[in-house]
Symmetry: C2
Subunit: 251 residues, 2 copies
DNA sequence: GCTTGACCTTGACGCTGCGTCAAGATTTAG
DNA sequence: CTAAATCTTGACGCAGCGTCAAGGTCAAGC
């Protein structure tokens, strides 16, 4: 019925120190305290501990965990909020990694530190090296042959359309429009239609596949050069949410 | 000639507190201290400060920075080591993000938590959704049409070869072979040759492009499902290093 | 009953890189 | 000469425990 602090620690795969810490924090008080001062925990405490540890593994902080467990704050909401933070951290790391790589390259003297060239989000020429480096080149190759097959006029037109779209997205995002609302969804529809012009896109029942559109949204958010194209992380988040909602409903 | 602590802080875009901290740590002692106790910094100190701040932005810790600046430790080496740590962190974050997403999905009750399906690194069927989600679907589509065009026998053969290669890589990595050495380079050659079977790969002078191969190496390392295919991060690092070296020399 | 371990307690420092008062001395502008 | 800046040293705070330290408690064997 009752377990000593060590028992529980072993059962849950943690340490007694952690348990004492959680006790001190009021996160997980011992279910009973002997007259000798020993802490004892029952099954319910074990379950709670396991939930705590699980949320910790997901990266939640102790205060956030307390809110979820005690005040019954919506767990999905908490995790979703947390996810935003994680994504932001990931982008920060990606920036750092790129910077370090660039610096190393510069130090090796192989090339002048010219990686500071502006990133033209949809210019396939500039795009090439970066995409190959980061997305594995598969991302580039199919699109490129298609791109090269277009006439300069068509290329210009396509780029103009992409710029237009980006501008509209940034505008909507700035105005804090509802990503699932009418206006954003109309934009998403245009975006998908625009995508549709690219051959080779995976399709289902005559339209770009839902998974593809969702994946694209994630990529816009994950890659900060795409994100920059949509006004930074907040803009890219907006685009992703809108595309995801659109894919859920219409694809 | 001399600048007050505030001056320097403003010039370098930091705070006086930080300067005092660096002084206390011996990282950046004031170039002169007035009889009133005031700290004064000269141009050389400013330059040093700027280097410190630059390295800090790259994520280096103060002790590491001290080593680079004082003991003239090889900066490239320090950054390269640091890069490894950053990459590791990035993978950890990616894992967390996937876990959180999976958990959210499960909580929403839309699908049973079946994301624990094993990842068959080169089975295009299993592969599909994951690649689309993470690499933007472009990565998947071109490869897929090619894959589908193969006969089942050819598919089996190709998969067998990929398995073989992976096994050989893991083996070499485990034995701590030199990634730039003969054996690893031979493997890299086989790997590139194997890749060569995939149509549409960007090429230069008759072989897969160097940038493509390097990018592939990075992807193996960045994506832990690929990494798993090569025996985890250490194995993937080995593969990446070998491929990079190979690309440098032969492509 | 006593000695040994094994296990328990509270208390407190350590880690990272500063942010942020606090109290007091000094310089500078007006 | 005074008020406003600016400077100093000193010290707590943060996140989540790891890690001694010093000292009770308990079950088991002699």
């Amino acid at each position: 019925m009752d377990h000593s602090i060590q028992d529980i620690a072993r059962l849950a795969g943690t340490t007694s120190r952690t348990l004492r810490h959680y006790g001190a924090e009021g996160l997980l008080p011992p279910s009973r305290i002997g007259e000798n001062g020993y802490r004892y925990y029952d099954e319910r405490a074990l379950v709670r501990l396991q939930r705590i540890l699980l949320l910790r593994e997901l990266g939640l902080g102790l205060p956030a965990i307390r809110e979820v467990l005690d005040r019954e704050v919506d767990e999905t909401a908490a995790l979703t909020a947390h996810l935003g933070w994680l994504e932001q951290e990931q982008r920060r790391l990606q920036r750092q990694i790129r910077s370090v790589r660039t610096t190393i390259t510069a130090l090796e003297g192989e090339e002048p530190l010219m990686a500071d060239i502006m990133f033209d989000g949809f210019d396939h020429t500039t795009y090439k090296e970066e995409v190959e480096q980061r997305w594995g080149a598969d991302a580039y190759r199919a699109g490129d042959s298609w791109w090269q097959s277009k006439s300069p006029a068509e290329q210009a037109d396509w780029k103009a359309r992409s710029t237009e779209l980006a501008t509209a997205w940034v505008d909507a995002a700035t105005r804090q429009v509802d990503p699932a609302g009418e206006e954003a969804q109309a934009l998403a529809a245009r975006h998908v239609e625009w995508l549709d012009g690219v051959p080779g896109i995976p399709r289902e029942n005559g339209t770009p596949a839902a998974a593809y559109v969702r994946g694209l949204g994630e990529m816009y958010l994950a890659d900060d050069r795409f994100a920059a194209n949509y006004g930074g992380a907040s803009g890219a988040t907006f685009v992703r949410d809108a595309l995801t909602a659109y894919a859920d409903r219409h694809l």
